[in-house]
C-alpha cells in the first residue's frame, strides 16, 4: 500500500510540474486569447498579411502589384495619399481598398493606424523624390517627345512600339495592358521602376545610355502620353 501511495504522489508531482511548465510557456509565448496588445506596427503587418499580401507580396515585396516595402516610394506618395489609397483603393486599378465601403470595412482610425504602422515598418529614412509622384501635379505630356524618350530609354527591353511579344521585359504597348493600367500606374512604374524585377526607375541606369542619364518629370509625362497614343491608334 505505501508503494501505491508513493507512486501516486510521484505522479501528482509530475502532473503539477508539467502544468507549471505549460502555464509558464504559455505566458511567455504568444497568447491564444490574444490579450497581448499589438503595437501599431504589428497590427498593421497582421492586417497587411490578411488584406494586401495577395497582390503586393508577402512582407511587401515580390508581389504582382507594386512593392510597398520601399521607403522612398512611401515617402514620395506621402501619408495623406496612402490613406486615400488604403481607404478607396486605386480607381481604375485592381486595388479594392479597405475603407468603410469595402469588404474589410475599416473606419478612418483603422486606416490611419494601418498606414502609420506600414510607414513605421517600411518607411524609415525614406526620401521623397523631387519629381512629383501624382499625375495631378505632373506636367502635360507630349506624345511625339515621348516617342523619342521611349526609343532611347525603354525600347531596348520593352521592344519597339509595334512589338507585342513576350521576349525581353515584354511589351508595354500591348493595348490590353494599356487598358488595364492607369496613367498614374504608368507614371509610378516609370518613376520608381520595379527594383525587385530589375527595372530601373527615373534615375536609370538605362541600357546603352550614359550612366548619368535621368528622366525628368516632363519626360515621364511624355512617355505616358506616348504609350496612351499607341493604344488609341490601335483602337
Amino acid at each position: 500500500m505505501p508503494n501505491a501511495f508513493r507512486n501516486i504522489a510521484a505522479l501528482l508531482g509530475v502532473i503539477v510540474a508539467a502544468a507549471c511548465v505549460g502555464a509558464c510557456g504559455k505566458i511567455s509565448s504568444t497568447d491564444p486569447a490574444e490579450n497581448i496588445v499589438l503595437t501599431t506596427q504589428q497590427l498593421a503587418m497582421k492586417n497587411y498579411a490578411q488584406n494586401c499580401s495577395a497582390c503586393h507580396g508577402a512582407n511587401g515585396v515580390n508581389g504582382a502589384a507594386r512593392q510597398l516595402a520601399d521607403a522612398n516610394y512611401l515617402a514620395s506618395v506621402g501619408r495623406e495619399a496612402l490613406i486615400n489609397i488604403t481607404t478607396n483603393g486605386v480607381s481604375g486599378g485592381f486595388c479594392p481598398g479597405s475603407g468603410p465601403a469595402s469588404l474589410a470595412q475599416w473606419d478612418a482610425k483603422q486606416v490611419a493606424d494601418f498606414v502609420d504602422g506600414m510607414l513605421e515598418a517600411w518607411g524609415k529614412n525614406g526620401v521623397a523624390l523631387s519629381i512629383p509622384w501624382s499625375v495631378k501635379l505632373a506636367p502635360a505630356g507630349n506624345a511625339s517627345n515621348g516617342q523619342a524618350v521611349y526609343a532611347a530609354t525603354c525600347q531596348s527591353c520593352h521592344g519597339a512600339p509595334n512589338f507585342k511579344g513576350v521576349t525581353g521585359a515584354g511589351s508595354v504597348t500591348d493595348p490590353n495592358y494599356l487598358r488595364l493600367i492607369t496613367d498614374q500606374g504608368l507614371r509610378t512604374a516609370i518613376l520608381f521602376g520595379r527594383p525587385e524585377r530589375g527595372m530601373p526607375g527615373w534615375s536609370g541606369p538605362f541600357p546603352h545610355q550614359a550612366a548619368d542619364r535621368k528622366l525628368s518629370s516632363q519626360e515621364i509625362s511624355d512617355v505616358v502620353a506616348f504609350l496612351r497614343s499607341t493604344a488609341s491608334q490601335k483602337q
Binding site: A18, G22, D31, A54, G57, G63, V166, S171, D174, Y177
Partner: protein
C-alpha cells in the same frame, strides 16, 4: 517527543475514522468497492473507462468554476467569455482545460466503447452495462453540442440554426419541436437560457446518474476478462464459471488495477494540460450576427462527420436520411447486446464484427478528415491573404503581371490553389498552362462550366486576355512546350494570333 505527537496524531485520525464509521458505515460500504476482485489479465485495455470518468470529473470542476463567471444571456455571453479569457487570472487556462478535456472525454469514451465492442464485453451478463454506456455516449455528445452553444459565437449560432433546421423537418411536429428547442421560432435569448440549463443542470445530472448505474453494474457483474478464442459465453454456465475463475486468479481492484488506471489517467491529464496550455481555449470565434455573411462556421471535431455528410449528400435524400438514420443508429447501438449476447468473444472468431468496426471507423474518420479540409467550401479570404507565389512572377511581361492581379482580384484563388495555397473546390492552377490551350482557357473563364461560374460578364476582354496570358505561363517546369498536346506557344495577347485579330475587327 516526535513519537508522542505521532501517536497522538494516529489516535486522533483513528478516532475520527472510527467515529465516522460507527455513525455512517462508510468504510464498510467503500471497502468492498475498492477491493473487489478483477481478472488478473485486465491490463492496459481496461483504462479507458476510468479515463472517461476522470475527464468527466474535470469537466464538473472546471464547469462549476466557469459557471461562476459566465453570463448566460444572449447579450453578455460573448463578452463574459472575453472577460474570462483576458481579465480573470488564468481564466483562459480554465476555458482551455474545459474545452480540451471535453475533446479528450469524447475520445476516451469512443476508445472505451471500441474496446468493449471488439472484445464483445457487452455479451451476457453485461447487456445492461452496454446500454447504459450507449446512453452515456449520447449524454457525452449532447454535453459537447450544448457546450459548443455556450460559446455563443458564429459556430454556435450556425450550429443551432442547422440543429433547428433538422428538427424542423420532422413531419407534423417539426415546428413545435423547433419552438421547444429554440424557445420560440428564432434563435434568441431564450435559446441560450434553454441550452445553458441543459448543459449545466439536466445533462450533467443525467450523466452522473447513469455513471452511478454503470458503476453499480460493474460491481454486480464484474469486469470482463480478456477474450480468448474458444472461451464461449453461455448464459447458463457463465456466471458460475466467472466467479470461480475470479476467486482463483483474480486480484483486488485497489491497488493492482487502480494503479494502472492512475498512471494512464495521469498521462492523459498531462497531455490535456499541455494541450490546454499551449493551444489555449477554443473560440469564441466571430460574434454571432446573422448579417455577417463571410462567417465560416465549423462544428467541433465530434460533429464534423455529420457536417461533411450533410455537405456531400444529394439534397433530395437529406430529409429521408435525417429522419431515418438517427433512430436506426440508436436502436442498433442499444439493441446490439440483445441480438448477440452469447458465443465467442475473441475478435479472431468474430470477423463480421471486426469488419463492421473497421468500416464504421474508416467512414467516420474519412468524413471527419473531409470536414477538416472541407474541399467543397471556398477559402473566402484566399484572394486577399495568399500571395501569388513569387516564382510564378519571375520574368513575366507587364500584361501577364496584370493577369496575376486579375486572378487575385477576381477571387479565382478562393476555389483554385496556387503553390498549395487556396481553395480546393476547383483544380489547382499550378500547371494549368500545360493542361489547356489559350482558347480553352478563354472559354473556361468566360463561360465557366464543371461547377465554375461564368466570368464573361465580370471581366472585360482585356482582363480576360491578361488572366489567360498569365495562366498560360503556369506550366510544369521542365515539361517541353512542344510535347504538350493542344498547348499553344506562350503569347502576350490575342492580337498576335490571326484568329483573335479577326474577331476583334469583327466587333
Amino acid at each position: 517527543m516526535f513519537r508522542t505527537i505521532k501517536n497522538i496524531g494516529i489516535k486522533m485520525v483513528g478516532g475520527l475514522l472510527g467515529w465516522t464509521e460507527s455513525r455512517s458505515g462508510v468504510i464498510t460500504f467503500v471497502q468492498p468497492i475498492l477491493t473487489h476482485r478483477v481478472p488478473r489479465d485486465a491490463k492496459w485495455w481496461y483504462v479507458f473507462g476510468s479515463a472517461s470518468l476522470m475527464f468527466f470529473s474535470i469537466q464538473v470542476v472546471t464547469g462549476i468554476l466557469l459557471a461562476t463567471m459566465y453570463v448566460p444571456s444572449a447579450a453578455e455571453a460573448y463578452s463574459s467569455l472575453q472577460y474570462i479569457d483576458q481579465q480573470v487570472p488564468f481564466g483562459w487556462m480554465l476555458r482551455a482545460l474545459h474545452a480540451w478535456s471535453s475533446n479528450a472525454m469524447i475520445l476516451m469514451v469512443v476508445i472505451h466503447m471500441s474496446q468493449v465492442f471488439l472484445h464483445a464485453s457487452f455479451k451476457f451478463p453485461r447487456e445492461l452495462m452496454w446500454m447504459v454506456g450507449v446512453l452515456l455516449l449520447f449524454c457525452t455528445l449532447a454535453l459537447a453540442f450544448t457546450g459548443q452553444i455556450m460559446r455563443w459565437d458564429q459556430d454556435a449560432y450556425w450550429g443551432l440554426g442547422i440543429g433547428a433546421a433538422i428538427v424542423d423537418r420532422v413531419p407534423m411536429l417539426g415546428n413545435q419541436m423547433r419552438n421547444v428547442m429554440l424557445g420560440g421560432p428564432y434563435i434568441g435569448g431564450a435559446t441560450l437560457s434553454r441550452f445553458f440549463a441543459l448543459h449545466v443542470f439536466v445533462l450533467p445530472g443525467l450523466t452522473i446518474g447513469l455513471i452511478g448505474a454503470h458503476m453499480a453494474l460493474i460491481l454486480k457483474n464484474g469486469i470482463s476478462e480478456m477474450p480468448k478464442p474458444g472461451m464461449v459465453v453461455d448464459p447458463k454456465t457463465y456466471v458460475a464459471q466467472y466467479e470461480e475463475r475470479i476467486k482463483k486468479t483474480g486480484v483486488a481492484f485497489m491497488p493492482d488495477a487502480a494503479q494502472r488506471d492512475m498512471v494512464f489517467c495521469g498521462l492523459m491529464l498531462i497531455i490535456v494540460g499541455l494541450l490546454a496550455a499551449y493551444l489555449g481555449p477554443v473560440g469564441p470565434n466571430g460574434i454571432p450576427n446573422p448579417t455577417i455573411i463571410d462567417a465560416n462556421p465549423r462544428p467541433d471535431y465530434a460533429f464534423l462527420w455529420i457536417f461533411t455528410a450533410m455537405a456531400l449528400m444529394p439534397p433530395q435524400i437529406e430529409t429521408a436520411v435525417l429522419l431515418i438514420a438517427p433512430p436506426i443508429v440508436v436502436l442498433a447501438l442499444l439493441g446490439l447486446p440483445l441480438i448477440s449476447n452469447r458465443g465467442e468473444r475473441a475478435p479472431s472468431r468474430r470477423p463480421g464484427a471486426v469488419i463492421a468496426y473497421v468500416l464504421i471507423a474508416t467512414a467516420l474518420g474519412t468524413l471527419t478528415w473531409l470536414g477538416v479540409v472541407s474541399a467543397w467550401s471556398p477559402v473566402m479570404d484566399a484572394w486577399t491573404s495568399m500571395p501569388t507565389p513569387p516564382q510564378y512572377l519571375v520574368g513575366r511581361t507587364p500584361l501577364e503581371m496584370q493577369g496575376a492581379l486579375v486572378l487575385q482580384h477576381s477571387q479565382c484563388r478562393n476555389c483554385h490553389s496556387l503553390g498549395g495555397q487556396g481553395g480546393l473546390r476547383g483544380p489547382n492552377l499550378d500547371n494549368v498552362g500545360s493542361r489547356k490551350s489559350w482558347d480553352q482557357l478563354v472559354r473556361q473563364v468566360q463561360q465557366g462550366g464543371g461547377n465554375m461560374p461564368a466570368y464573361g460578364k465580370n471581366l472585360s476582354s482585356a482582363e480576360t486576355t491578361a488572366v489567360v496570358a498569365f495562366m498560360t505561363t503556369l506550366r510544369n517546369s521542365g515539361a517541353p512546350e512542344s510535347n504538350i498536346p493542344g498547348a499553344m506557344e506562350r503569347q502576350s495577347s490575342p492580337d498576335q494570333a490571326p484568329k483573335a485579330v479577326a474577331s476583334e475587327a469583327g466587333k
